[in-house]
């Protein structure tokens, strides 16, 4: 065994690869690039330059690196009136939990390259993704700041609205394939068609639910700065705020990967073959690219829409998107009954 092979076997050991390489490094890179893209795309729509002078040759790409580094070295202020333990741990746990769903999503059809191979991966991924908002609410509560508390309460409202939609609409895929296993789902898509074509209503509902869960426009309500400064994160400074800000994007990335696997055919054009390169690396790159495109769509909405009012968002979620998710679920069942998948 040569050194390269040893290294490869360490790097591509599934838990390390998916949690450390993809989960931390790629996610960080994606967050940095997507934030840069978001600012640049918004600037483009708004007929201006966006971040530029930090590195003119790279069109301002390191801007987010500068912001991150600045946050990292800035003073961390912990007000005397906060609940210290929760105040410090909540953003860290929220960040970890928001990237954890990646661990149970397969990037390839070979079960060996899957950190936690199991038949109920869809359920587990959804279950993990529902935990992190609780810590955002906690962060708001521990901050002992009125805006934080209002922001936390809004977050709680939004959770109740989107959670059911997200779960129902993603489970419609399971209903259609009669399986909770992501690999079966992707295989079914490779046999017939992607679920975005077979079940577009469920995809729309899932898309909106992800927007709501990661407070993207037009549902950027918990952090709506014109009433509740920075929402639950009003009191956070320095790297703790950086974590908080990154957590929403990391969560969006994790959700995008789930959506890419469940609706966009996962590694679809590619049939994973033998070896690490064809069996693991290339399929995972395909999945990440699909997730990245989804994230670009999410980011672009910022420049087109403003934000809904809280009650309007909740109303829309329960009156419009929830029936959509139900219909999507029904379509999934019908498809399974007709044997389309």
């Amino acid at each position: 065994m040569s050194l390269v092979e040893v290294l490869a076997s360490i790097v591509f050991y599934p838990p390390i690869y998916q949690l450390v390489i993809v989960g931390l490094i790629v996610t960080l890179g994606v967050v940095i690039i997507i934030l840069w893209f978001e600012r640049k795309a918004t600037a483009r729509v708004q007929r201006r330059l966006g971040p530029y002078h930090v590195a003119p040759k790279l069109a301002g790409m390191p801007q987010l690196l500068a912001d991150l580094l600045r946050y990292a070295f800035q003073e961390i202020i912990i007000p005397r009136t906060v609940d210290r333990g929760v105040f410090i741990t909540a953003p860290i746990i929220a960040t970890v939990l928001s990237i954890l769903p990646i661990a149970v999503v397969p990037f390839t059809s070979i079960p060996d390259y899957w950190p936690i191979p199991m038949d109920y991966s869809v359920l587990v991924a959804l279950a993990i993704s529902t935990v992190s908002p609780i810590f955002l609410v906690l962060a708001g509560w521990a901050s002992n700041n009125k805006f934080s508390i209002i922001g936390g309460v809004r977050e709680a409202f939004i959770i109740t609205a989107y959670e059911l939609i997200a779960i129902l609409s993603i489970l419609s895929v399971s209903a259609a394939t009669l399986s909770f296993n992501f690999i079966d789902i992707v295989n079914a898509q490779m046999n017939t068609a992607w679920f975005i074509i077979l079940n577009p209503i469920a995809f729309m509902a899932a898309f909106l639910a992800v927007l709501m869960s990661t407070s993207g426009f037009p549902f950027e309500i918990p952090e709506s700065e014109n009433e509740v400064v920075a929402g639950p994160f009003t009191e956070y400074s320095g790297i703790l705020y950086g974590l908080n800000m990154g957590a929403a994007y990391m969560k969006r990335f994790a959700f995008s990967i789930i959506l890419a696997v469940a609706f966009l055919g996962g590694w679809s054009p590619l049939t994973p073959g033998e070896g690490i390169l064809y069996g693991y690396l290339l399929p995972s790159i395909v999945v990440i690219i699909k997730a990245f495109i989804l994230m670009m769509v999410f980011s672009f909405l910022r420049s087109v829409y403003g934000r809904y009012r809280l009650d309007q968002a909740l109303q829309g979620a329960w009156r419009l998107v929830f029936p959509m998710a139900l219909i999507g679920f029904g379509i999934g069942i019908i498809e399974a009954y007709l044997g389309l998948t």
Partner: protein, 202 residues
């Protein structure tokens, strides 16, 4: 449940370690040993986020400086909402007695290293309102890094002030030294002579 060896008074508290000590050590390691000082200065200078505090009518030109024609964001400066997440305060014109308290409190809430730009003739020395009974000179309350003359200054001069501040941060290494030593190296912090917040308590 009582834990042995812990004073009765401190029972029931959550312990998160001595954060100050840990932070100090981390700073020494990163800036002292790994020579990250230059990177800190670079990052700080290109990430000067002004806090949203509009003190007076220069806010019009401040807003224009971030509009597409002048686009302050190209320097990496992004106006941000709360003082906790920002590191630059731009005093936009006259500071009245009532506003002085807000300026002081906002400045105190910002995490170091932080900088201040005073915009407009009024922020220099009163400008057209020099003999008004209701204004305060901002340099009496907070330490100012760059002054922008004009009434109101053009947006270009706001951009110029930001570039000037960036240069001086990089050339003097203000940010890295501030992080390392915990105090600002080149400028003392201002202790206001008058109690600007006296009216609040009534």
């Amino acid at each position: 449940m009582a834990i042995e060896g812990v004073k009765a008074k401190e029972q029931g508290k959550v312990y998160v370690g001595n954060l100050d000590e840990t932070a100090k050590r981390a700073k020494q390691l990163l800036i002292g040993r790994l020579k990250l000082g230059k990177a800190v200065d670079w990052a700080t200078s290109f990430s000067l986020w002004p806090v949203h505090l509009t003190t007076s009518c220069c806010g019009c030109e401040f807003a224009a400086a971030w509009s597409p024609r002048f686009d302050g964001e190209q320097f990496g400066a992004l106006p941000w909402v709360g003082p906790r997440q920002t590191n630059l305060i731009i005093i936009e014109g006259t500071v009245t007695r009532k506003m002085a308290c807000a300026v002081k409190v906002t400045w105190d809430q910002m995490p170091a290293p932080k900088f201040a730009i005073a915009m407009g003739a009024c922020a220099l020395d009163g400008g057209i309102f020099y003999n008004s009974y209701n204004i305060v000179r901002p340099w009496e309350i907070i330490p100012i890094d760059v002054y922008i003359p004009g009434c109101p200054p053009r947006p270009e001069s706001v951009a110029r002030a930001i570039v000037d501040l960036q240069r001086s941060i990089r050339s003097k290494g203000i940010a890295s030294k501030w992080v390392e030593e915990g105090v600002r190296p080149d400028k003392p912090l201002v202790a206001p002579k008058q109690d600007v917040c006296s009216w609040w308590r009534g």
